[in-house]
């Protein structure tokens, strides 16, 4: 190949790659819901463990709002009851949404301390589930919510394995991964997630971290805050106040 041919081919390659790049649109910004702009929000949730009364209304509301199967092992959010006995042994039960709560088998005098801990998707800033998805069906939106593309998900369960908080499950009807998305359809309409809406004790707080006036901003300023499994560097956006060291 002489220099002329080499230059000719170089020009060809440059021109064709230019066409490819030029055709692919640079920005696909789209308005999702009338006045809703994803870039203006960054959502998080605050949970005050001391306020939770373990009534299970959040679990019930979540199931109703998001069409989660009513069987007691599919949850987008659930509440765990911790009982720490005098001998330091810990028992953890997920409470039921109905009145058929498991009978307290621990005698009152054996209980050292006991409390309820609501759990849900932590909407990590560094989400392991997004990292492992082989088809890119789960992703972080600009407003900080991890979403699942139900059309793209192949139901391989990789994300369910990867989540250190166990918040994902395979939906028995759609056969794709499902999890809490802060009731995304409510957020874009300016409403609170269903669990926050029904919480009788305001143990759950919801807010926008881009606004210091939001209830969450105050919650994070006024309380000693902990997140679940901080050593994993997942950087969760569900903040717990008054969390016991036994909770993980």
């Amino acid at each position: 190949m002489d220099r002329r041919d080499f230059l000719k081919q170089l020009c060809l390659v440059a021109a064709s790659s230019g066409i490819v790049c030029g055709l692919s649109p640079a920005a696909w910004a789209r308005i999702i819901h009338k006045d809703y702009d994803t870039a203006k929000h960054y959502y998080g949730m605050g949970i005050d463990v001391d306020k939770c009364i373990g009534c299970g209304r959040c679990m019930q509301a979540c199931k109703t709002e998001n069409d989660v199967p009513s069987d007691p092992f599919y949850f987008r959010t659930w509440v765990e009851r911790y009982v720490i006995k005098v001998d330091k042994s810990v028992t953890i039960n997920t409470i039921s949404t109905g009145l058929d709560q498991p009978v307290v088998t621990v005698a009152e005098r054996d209980v050292l301390r006991s409390f309820f801990v609501p759990k849900l998707c932590n909407q990590c800033a560094h989400p392991p589930c997004v990292q492992v998805c082989p088809v890119g069906a789960t992703f972080t939106s600009d407003d900080g919510v991890i979403l699942v593309d139900t059309k793209r998900c192949i139901g391989c369960r990789y994300c369910i394995q990867a989540c250190p908080y166990g918040v994902r499950y395979l939906h028995p009807v759609t056969r794709v991964a499902d999890k809490c998305n802060f009731c995304y359809h409510r957020l874009v309409r300016g409403l609170l997630p269903a669990c926050v809406e029904v919480c009788p004790k305001q143990a759950r707080l919801f807010g926008d971290m881009k606004s210091s006036a939001s209830p969450l901003g105050r919650f994070i300023r006024m309380n000693k805050i902990h997140v679940l499994k901080p050593y994993l560097n997942t950087d969760p956006k569900v903040y717990y106040a008054n969390l016991d060291g036994e909770v993980n």
């Binding site: 041919d5 809703y36 307290v104 992703f139 809406e197």
Partner: protein, 247 residues
Amino acid sequence: MKFLHKLPEQAVRVIIVFVVLAAGMFVVRQFIMPPEMKETALIQSATMEREANKEIKYAGAEICGQCHEKEHDSKKSGYHRDLSCESCHGAAQKHVDSPTEVKPSSPTKRDYCAYCHTYNSSRPTGFPQINPDTHNPRKPCITCHNPHNPKPPKTPSSCTACHAQIERTKAASYHALLACTVCHTAPEQHKTSPRTVTPTKPDKREFCGKCHAQGSGAKGVPTVDMATHGEKYVCWQCHYPHMLGGI
């Protein structure tokens, strides 16, 4: 393109086939495939749109008050002020859409209140709880308590009006029969400016010692030798006076 002529003919054919295939794929990807299938940003915004368009079932607390003013107002000042209407009446967006056709449920039986108010040792102290087996069994809660403005049968007065949580804790402790004023003196202004004029609190071991020191003469009260018991600590570092017995 001189170097192509130097190659054997079959190699040139293979190259042509590959070039045609590659060109075909390029055309398919660039011109035939819709952008929704290949642009990550588009795929994601489509997902967000799909999620955003899902129908809501819980209408939110604001909207109920627009029609149900009476309930809304009576609830506003009561103990259930933080409780959303839909916590008890269930998801009501359908009722908002067609108010006459769809009616939300109204729990009238005992078991609904029990979700929150049954005694459970894991519930925070001070939260009003009852034992459904002994608390007026079989009687619906709403015969005595108005759910939109629930009140304890005895209206809280004096200290209890604000310090209900402490009152309920104290009611189950050994100090149940002691009035608040035995240990605290509240100036009259405390009622009007509670944060600027505060009641007194005991600040010395000797205060507890008035009853609990050996030889105090109080009947049925545990007594200790104040000189040796607890050393440098003040009593309430180990014994919380409002709490149920012991340490």
